[in-house]
């Protein structure tokens, strides 16, 4: 059993507050991804778990044991580094065996485990090579192999794919997902790439950066990928998850009856959203959020016209950046398939009420009255 419990974890470097009040439960066998903008301390949080940094305040339990003061090798964790960090003077075999040799494991067990890891990672032909004779992808696999042979309860990945090229990244991502289902160990994975986060995670931990860290603590939201996508708890999460990012339109709350709210937009038109904003007073400044891919869904309460400022044709879809009357920010619209529209063309968009998000004046989200399970049913 290697569940991880963090209780009130803080980390400071001198006066700089990097990690604030993290409370997190990672169950045995879970795949957790730490994601966030650069400088949010996601790598630091991982290194706290690894034991490469000391925790300033708070408790860290792994497998029911408090490990704050335990050295890294005794925590039952293994880490894969972004830059691979292979021992350049040792062969692939020796690289993987090094940790076991230091732990005085007997030679036969070492050999078994290294060969098994070699099989899993398709390194069996390369065991006698030196790291410099390997390609980037192979080096990364050796780094993973070095973690596997130690048979840890928890794997820690620090942006393991960011040094690989795009094609290899997708392939290795799938290999890591497969590895997780084969080994059944817990994995914590740090990335700044939200596609990796969405595809790999059982649970995403989205971290705040900047002033929000001091105000709200380091963790912005914890949840399954779809939870974060469909029910972001604030504007930051809503904007971070999803690509292209969610559109935000400033508005004013007109009324709310518990199941739906009416919002007045800057151009004077009114929009309905399936959001419970009854906690707020009418007249409050609010922000309406809607994802670029959700504009043309069913259930529109209002339509608007926008002039195309830029168009990007991706093949499977097209992105249009629209100028809207009364708003100085461009609105992003995603349309499936080939849609031909050029600069200056007018496009009509509809705003479906079931897909709207609404944020109050301090950027907190109002609860949506449509759960994403329902929403998914309607889309499938």
């Amino acid at each position: 059993m290697s569940e991880i419990r963090m209780r009130g974890v803080y980390k400071q470097f001198g006066k700089e507050r990097i990690i604030e009040n993290v409370n997190l439960d990672i169950e045995d066998g879970e795949f957790v991804v730490f994601v966030g903008p650069s400088g949010c301390g996601k790598s630091t949080l991982l290194r706290l778990v690894a034991g490469l940094e000391d925790i300033t305040k708070g408790d860290l339990h792994i497998g029911g044991k408090r490990v704050n003061n335990l050295p890294p090798p005794e925590r039952g964790v293994a880490m894969v580094f972004q830059s691979y960090a292979l021992y350049p003077h040792m062969t692939v075999y020796e690289n993987m065996a090094f940790g076991l040799r230091l732990a005085k494991t007997d030679t036969q067990t070492i050999d078994e485990r290294v060969r098994k890891a070699g099989d899993i990672l398709q390194l069996d032909q390369l065991l006698t090579r030196l790291p410099k004779e390997l390609s980037g992808g192979q080096r990364q696999r050796v780094a993973i192999g070095r973690a596997i042979v130690r048979e840890p309860g928890v794997f820690l990945f620090d942006e393991p794919l960011s040094n690989l090229d795009a094609a290899l990244r997708v392939q290795t991502r799938i290999e890591i997902a497969k590895l997780h289902s084969d080994l059944g160990a817990s994995m914590i994975y740090v990335t700044h790439d939200q596609v990796e986060a969405m595809t790999l995670a059982n649970k995403i931990v989205l971290l705040n950066a900047g002033e929000a860290v001091i105000k709200d603590g380091s963790v912005a939201q914890v949840g399954s990928p779809l939870e974060l996508y469909h029910q972001p708890c604030n504007k930051f999460v809503a904007g971070f998850i999803g690509s292209p990012k969610m559109n935000f339109i400033d508005g004013e709350l007109v009324s709310s009856d518990g199941s739906k709210s009416t919002i007045k937009l800057p151009d004077g038109s009114q929009v309905e959203a399936s959001v419970d904003a009854s906690a707020a007073q009418p007249g409050m400044k609010v922000t309406l959020g809607i994802r670029p891919e959700h504009f043309d869904q069913q259930g529109a309460s209002s339509t608007a016209k926008g002039k195309v400022a830029y168009a990007e044709h991706l093949g499977e879809a097209s992105l249009f950046y629209l100028e809207l009357a009364g708003s100085n920010e461009l609105l992003t619209l995603r349309k499936e398939g080939d849609v031909l529209a050029n600069r200056g063309d007018m496009i009509e968009i509809s705003i479906p009420r079931d897909y709207c998000h609404l944020f109050n004046d301090s950027d907190r989200a109002f609860p949506r009255t449509v759960t994403y399970e329902q929403e998914m049913l309607t889309t499938v």
Binding site: M79, A85, H89
Partner: protein, 277 residues
């Protein structure tokens, strides 16, 4: 165009030739002189006319020159081993561990190498006598480290600092203690630096004159440079140039050999493959 290119090449060739002659000629002249004897010593010749080995024989028979060489080897090897050991361990602390006053400490170490030898001579003399090492080889080994350690520590610290941090962290995760990290992970990567600094320390200890002259009394315990300088001729008025040159040639050969042997080990790019480059 073509002429300018050729001209440039010829110019470069002559420049190189000049440099080679300037650095090699004194040694070449020593070799030539070492084969001469009697009044021929004072005639200027640019190539050996006769091969007369009597100077080499007398260098070893007139004084315990083989003992002197042996002493020099012991001192130089000990200085290299001690300097490298202290240098590697110190540079690990100075290059990889963050602590208060690290910069100041590094500067102090550098400052030590700035003192002229004469300035520390009398103090060093007292120190050596107090330790009871006067007139013995260990006394030389310890005093030589005053000039070998600063540059060893500095060079190794620079190299140590450049080793990737992840490599150290990966070995920590693998359960390596600082000692294992130094010996099993960092030392193999530091080979080029170790060979270079080791050679420099060896040469410095091998050629050192002032300390060796001051701290050693007997002929049998002397090291080579002093032994050569104190070679006496048949009479008070004769300086035995022949023997001196022969001795110099003999003691230069080990150094040249060492450089040639270890030259192969001074290979760069040993860290290739450790991290994404």
């Amino acid at each position: 165009m073509q002429e300018i290119k050729i001209l440039k090449k010829v110019g470069l060739f002559f420049l190189v030739l000049l440099l080679v002659i300037f650095s090699v000629f004194p040694f070449y002249y020593a070799i030539v002189t070492s084969f001469k004897s009697g009044s021929a010593l004072f005639k200027v010749d640019y190539y050996p006319k006769v091969l007369d080995f009597s100077n080499y024989v007398s260098a070893f028979t007139e004084q315990p020159f083989h003992l002197n060489i042996f002493n020099s080897v012991i001192v130089a090897v000990a200085v290299v081993v001690l300097s490298l050991f202290l240098g590697v361990t110190a540079s690990f602390a100075l290059g990889r561990v963050k602590f208060r006053g690290r910069g100041l400490l590094l500067l102090t170490i550098l400052a030590v190498s700035m003192f002229p030898q004469v300035a520390v001579l009398s103090g060093m003399f007292e120190l050596i006598r107090w330790m009871g090492l006067y007139n013995s080889l260990p006394g030389l080994m310890i005093t030589y480290m005053i000039f070998t350690l600063p540059f060893t520590v500095w060079v190794l610290t620079t190299f140590m600092r450049d080793l990737p941090k992840e490599l150290e962290e990966a070995s920590i995760m693998d359960g390596a203690s600082p000692w294992v990290i130094i010996t099993k992970v960092f030392m193999p990567l530091l080979w080029p630096a170790l060979v270079t600094t080791g050679l420099l320390a060896f040469i410095a200890a091998w050629n050192e004159f002032l300390f060796a002259l001051t701290f050693i009394l007997q002929n049998e315990t002397r090291t080579v440079p002093v032994a050569i300088a104190s070679m006496g001729g048949a009479s008070e008025f004769e300086l035995p140039w022949g023997s001196i040159m022969a001795g110099s040639v003999v003691v230069t050969i080990p150094v040249v050999a060492l450089v040639l042997i270890f030259q192969r080990r001074i290979v760069s790019g040993l860290t290739a493959g450790a991290v994404k480059g």
